[in-house]
């Protein structure tokens, strides 16, 4: 499975760096703000999906409430700056920590109670809804009006006039998590996680502390998704309960890796690019009828699960293999 040595390292990490380098050229190809804006949003969703993928893709624990982590990251960075005047970068880091803590708490409660499958999906959904309702009602979070961050463009405030810089930061975060995911894949922790996904009872029988492994996975997963939320708040300088903790966030975070390829490092990125490409195409064809793009997401999910259970990445690999065998014969 894992190829050791320098060649293994190279074949594992080189594709990530190549993809990152190619994507990094985007702002040089176009300076149109709409394109860059769409790309930043796509990278944000990819990042949230990368977080989901660690727990759901590798560990097989399907969360339907990753908005709880995304929202905590978004509100964390916004409130720490707006209420306590913290430096933006410190707030960003603290918000990721807060997201991880929420992940650990939800994980502790759910896994301690032995919730799996549908039950785990439901309890995560409910936690996200509780956060949404509280954030929407509490004066501390600004209630339904949400929280605004003061516009003060300066690199020291994590605010930049150019969208290209935001794009590069988002790309750097996505790349970092790609490397992290690849490292997990090659680690003992990653092997434990996959063992739990394939057969939790068997994994336990082999002596894996499944509770501990799942808890670590959800904490890490939450931290990554919280980073996406924190970045969102920093980019738009505004959060409210429906944006941060809404069910749409949870759904987007799980669609991207499922469409792209569950439990693969590149899955979430491929899935997001495919979904957003499809959405933009649909909007261009139908003239921005609300809902049509998301309806297509739904159809695509059903089609992918029916005909390409390993996602677009798996489909591409299968097609590639098919071609090469035809070539050989």
């Amino acid at each position: 499975m894992t190829v050791s040595g320098a060649r293994g390292m190279f074949s594992a990490y080189a594709p990530i760096l190549v993809v990152a380098a190619l994507l990094a050229l985007t702002p040089l190809a176009t300076s149109a703000n709409t394109v860059l804006n769409a790309m930043v949003l796509a990278l944000l969703v990819a990042l949230a999906g990368q977080g989901w993928n660690i727990l759901g893709g590798y560990g097989g624990q399907f969360s339907f409430g990753h908005a709880a982590f995304f929202g905590t990251g978004a509100y964390g960075t916004a409130l720490l700056q707006a209420r306590y005047g913290l430096n933006a970068y410190v707030a960003f880091a603290a918000a990721i920590g807060a997201g991880a803590a929420v992940g650990a708490a939800i994980g502790f409660l759910s896994f301690r109670s032995g919730l799996r499958g549908s039950y785990f999906a439901l309890v995560t959904l409910a936690f996200a809804e509780v956060f949404r309702i509280v954030a929407n009602a509490s004066p501390f979070t600004g209630g339904a009006a949400g929280t605004l961050l003061k516009l003060d463009v300066a690199p020291g405030n994590f605010q930049f006039a150019s969208r290209a810089i935001f794009f590069w930061i988002a790309l750097a975060l996505v790349t970092l998590v790609l490397i992290l995911t690849r490292a997990i894949e090659r680690s003992r922790f990653g092997a434990y996680l996959v063992a739990i996904r394939e057969n939790e009872s068997a994994a336990q029988a082999l002596g894996i502390d499944t509770f501990k492994v799942k808890l670590q996975a959800i904490t890490l997963s939450a931290a990554v998704t919280a980073a996406a939320g924190a970045f969102y708040a920093q980019y738009f300088l505004y959060v409210n309960a429906d944006i941060a903790y809404g069910a749409a966030v949870s759904v987007e975070a799980l669609l991207a890796p499922i469409i792209g390829g569950l439990g693969t490092a590149f899955g979430p990125l491929i899935g997001t690019l495919a979904l957003h490409g499809l959405a933009e195409g649909a909007k261009a064809l139908t003239g921005r009828i609300p809902g049509i793009d998301v309806a297509l997401y739904g159809a695509l999910v059903v089609l992918v699960i029916a005909f390409a259970p390993k996602g677009l990445r798996g489909l591409a690999a299968r097609l590639g293999r098919g071609l090469s065998t035809r070539w050989a014969s």
């Binding site: 399907f62 409660l109 919730l115 549908s118 309702i133 009602a137 759904v251 309806a295 739904g298 999910v301």
Partner: protein, 289 residues
């Protein structure tokens, strides 16, 4: 503190709301009991049925008449959806079923949004503002009718499950899928019938809800969250559990709305939900998972 009459009125109102929750939840728990899967498209099907009832009313058919056409129609649609889409697409894996129903739910909700926009629509029926006088409290007629229809539907469903061969087959598949297949029961057919029954119950719920509620592409979400709670509380797969759970949640919502106000009243449901999941995921009436 509130006067006893107000509290009693709140309890009765809660029971009336709870009856509709119970109907929506029975449909969900039925599907869970047989397919062992949470149907995430539940809310979207309810929304679709409410749109159907709405347009039937626009065409001059009262929802209480339309229900006789919509319930069979939704049975057929539900049967087809499970037999020809959800079943084949899932390749027999539970996690896939979860995601396929989620995909369908996204598809249905947003197709409705694209077709009809996000406007809130209501209908006027002759009995819309009538009341039933119990002597100490006035009850809105549409909700009393909803309560009665729920009771009738639950009885019919119970009779179907207990007294007919189809019901026996459904219960057999719920208990032991492989064994049922071995004695010659067509499992794929039973899955589809169950899903169809669930959709038919939702069509009935939609027809009794519409006169006192509104329709909008996301209207099902609110009900589906409540239904999840009820189903977990009552024990996944337990129909009596879902009935009692539905009534209970209706009363809890009504009372917490009375004491804590509307927006935090919603919170009560989720807190019960999380506690039920964490402390007793098999529910009050559920068999051991």
């Amino acid at each position: 503190m509130f006067a006893p009459e107000i509290v009693i009125a709140a309890v009765i109102n809660g029971l009336l709301t709870g009856a509709v929750y119970a109907l929506v939840s029975v449909a969900l728990t039925l599907v869970y009991g047989v397919l062992h899967i949470i149907n995430f498209a539940h809310g979207a099907i309810l929304t679709a049925a409410m749109f159907a009832a709405f347009f039937a009313e626009q065409a001059g058919v009262d929802p209480l008449i339309a229900v006789f056409g919509l319930a069979p129609l939704f049975f057929v649609l539900g049967y087809g959806a499970q037999r020809y889409i959800i079943g084949p697409a899932s390749h027999g894996e539970d996690s896939n079923t979860l995601l396929v129903t989620l995909g369908l739910s996204i598809l249905i909700e947003n197709a409705l949004l694209a077709a009809f926009g996000s406007d809130t629509r209501t209908i006027d029926v002759p009995y819309g503002f009538s009341t039933v006088d119990l002597g100490f409290v006035f009850l809105p007629a549409p909700r009393v009718i909803a309560f009665a229809v729920t009771c009738v539907t639950a009885t019919l469903l119970w009779a179907l499950l207990k007294k007919t061969d189809t019901g026996k087959a459904i219960r057999a598949v719920a208990k032991e899928k492989l064994g049922a297949a071995l004695v010659g029961i067509d499992v794929a057919h039973v899955y589809a019938v169950t899903f169809g029954l669930g959709a038919a119950c939702l069509a009935i719920a939609a027809c009794v809800l519409l006169p006192s509620y509104y329709v909008q592409p996301r209207v099902g979400d609110a009900y589906v969250f409540v239904a999840f709670t009820v189903v977990v509380l009552g024990g996944m797969g337990s129909a009596p559990g879902a009935m009692i759970g539905g009534l209970f949640i209706g009363v809890v919502e009504s009372l917490s709305g009375l004491y804590f106000g509307e927006s935090l009243g919603q919170l009560g449901i989720f807190v019960i939900f999380i506690l039920a999941l964490l402390v007793r995921p098999t529910g009050l009436f559920g068999a051991r998972a």
